[in-house]
Symmetry: C2
Subunit: 345 residues, 2 copies
Amino acid sequence: QAFSLAVIPGDGIGPEVVAEGVKVLKAATANEDATFELTEYKLGAEHWLATGETLPEDTLDKLRGHDAILFGAVGAAPGDTRIPSGIIEREMLLKLRFSLDHFVNLRPSKLFPGVPSPLANPGEVDFVVVREGTEGPYVGNGGALRVGTRHEIATEVSVNTAHGVERVVRDAFRRASARRKKLTLVHKHNVLVHAGHLWRRQVEAVGREFPEVAVDYLHVDAATIFMVTDPARFDVIVTDNLFGDIITDLAAAITGGIGLAASGNINMDRTAPSMFEPVHGSAPDIAGQQKADPTAAILSVALLLEHLGLDAAAARVQDAVEKDIAGRGTEPRTTSDIGDAIASL
Amino acid sequence: QAFSLAVIPGDGIGPEVVAEGVKVLKAATANEDATFELTEYKLGAEHWLATGETLPEDTLDKLRGHDAILFGAVGAAPGDTRIPSGIIEREMLLKLRFSLDHFVNLRPSKLFPGVPSPLANPGEVDFVVVREGTEGPYVGNGGALRVGTRHEIATEVSVNTAHGVERVVRDAFRRASARRKKLTLVHKHNVLVHAGHLWRRQVEAVGREFPEVAVDYLHVDAATIFMVTDPARFDVIVTDNLFGDIITDLAAAITGGIGLAASGNINMDRTAPSMFEPVHGSAPDIAGQQKADPTAAILSVALLLEHLGLDAAAARVQDAVEKDIAGRGTEPRTTSDIGDAIASL
Ligand SMILES: CC(C)[C@H](C(=O)O)[C@@H](O)C(=O)O
Ligand SMILES: CC(C)[C@H](C(=O)O)[C@@H](O)C(=O)O
């Protein structure tokens, strides 16, 4: 099989961690009947500064032609006032997720043996968050009136559809059915009544197709409590775009930090390529110094391989990462040291 | 001074913890020039089941006549399908917060010596969250179309005004100025552009009146990370209604649990009585068994006393709680044992 892969290294530490991801991808598939043709796309804050482009339509069209996308990180240095706040995030990263219909934002959290957690007694943490990726408060349906005056009003509209909720809920049930058979819906239906009830009804309806899966519900505030007091209770969590954003950062924190957190922006209908990216940002403060941990990017490559049906290669990457992590000492290693080590396991 | 206090014990463990709050209130003010006249109001899930009333207008009018409100907890047992989901929360608790213009939802988080935290190395945790209480996604401005069909659309609108944001931001700056002089705005302005920018501009503008306060910004997802990796960095956090709901439960969890978390729903303009309530819910599973920890209700009484200008009495309650907590052993105590102990310190 020949796969065509788009690579978007992005800004800051993005290029460094993506390079290690590609290294491991090649090592893991060396003995497979699979070849990868890589095409690099320059996008992100640096590219915007150089060209004024966020994500031109023809670039988006070209990206559609690939089998999958490997994404590093985007974003300018926090102090850089030349770039309007959030423009790269919205007009590039979110635009990709929305345009390519990445309705499953998959974020696994596993506390690997040997990884320190900020929790005193984390227990066995191994869950995945299925975050909706194309709706909710992320749709950009807000506005403002009388801006800058004492009478300013600013609104943000969360949009939720039966179509959008049902498909992501079904995906979450499938994953739960293939795992420990427990699904937790996280929402805030006692306050966000309309959206909340849509989510609850979809979970109830789709749940009838999966009688083997036990269903639980938590308000998002309570979910953050359990995340630090009893994270072992979670198997698959399904939630909306914003709640998912919040709880997956927390989930990453309790399982060793965003340096280890992988994610997939997945179009399960395969009408457009899916995109795999570490949860961390571009970390401009340590960029170009070989200080970044490429593990999250490498674990994202494992998700990518799995999505392409290369399950054996995906498992190989996952195993190599687990072995490398278990053996990590206090000796500092460069970004490429870590990539080399994982690629050779 | 004669104060008129409304007491809403509510459901589940509400009456038990409120009784201890009142006990401590009386002990702490025994030698003050202050008397309290208490009026009890029956409201909550049980009351709804008995009468079909959530919060009648005439009850609300009577409540307006008091100097402050002490609130226990409301909510039916999770399995109780007789009560439409969220109706008590919205039509009673949130209706009180909105009608009485409780724009400062004050939630202090302090890790008292002797209290176990789920964090391995919490450090010195002592911050307050100033959560906006009358706007944001809590306004009930959502709707749904084609409910129950494949074409259902459900929306939730977050409404934010210059008036609403400015006043809560000013309150947060005042508190920061009286504390360690650090304010962190928590929002998600890279996605929720319009609301986020309103919040940022208000923080910038009001901040000019408080040059002594250092201002920091965190996206809500990042804030949850720091909450578990470095909570000592926080002094005063100001944030919107929904983000505040989420991070204060997490904050409670890392500082010993919601059994210790107090809150005030405060109308700083004093155009209506403020309301003080433990962050925890009605815990129907342990109701009526003298198993509930009344500490959160008692600490809420300390906030109430402070709000009424009885600073010495407030400090006495706070000190007594800290002493009691420091001496807590493994011996189980009843709800009223704990109240007695704190009242006598
Ligand atoms: C950068 C930002 C727009 C993004 C999000 O909010 O989804 C990030 O926080 C994430 O979780 O991938
Ligand atoms: C019960 C619920 C409506 C309430 C809220 O969301 O504000 C609670 O979670 C709280 O934090 O006081």
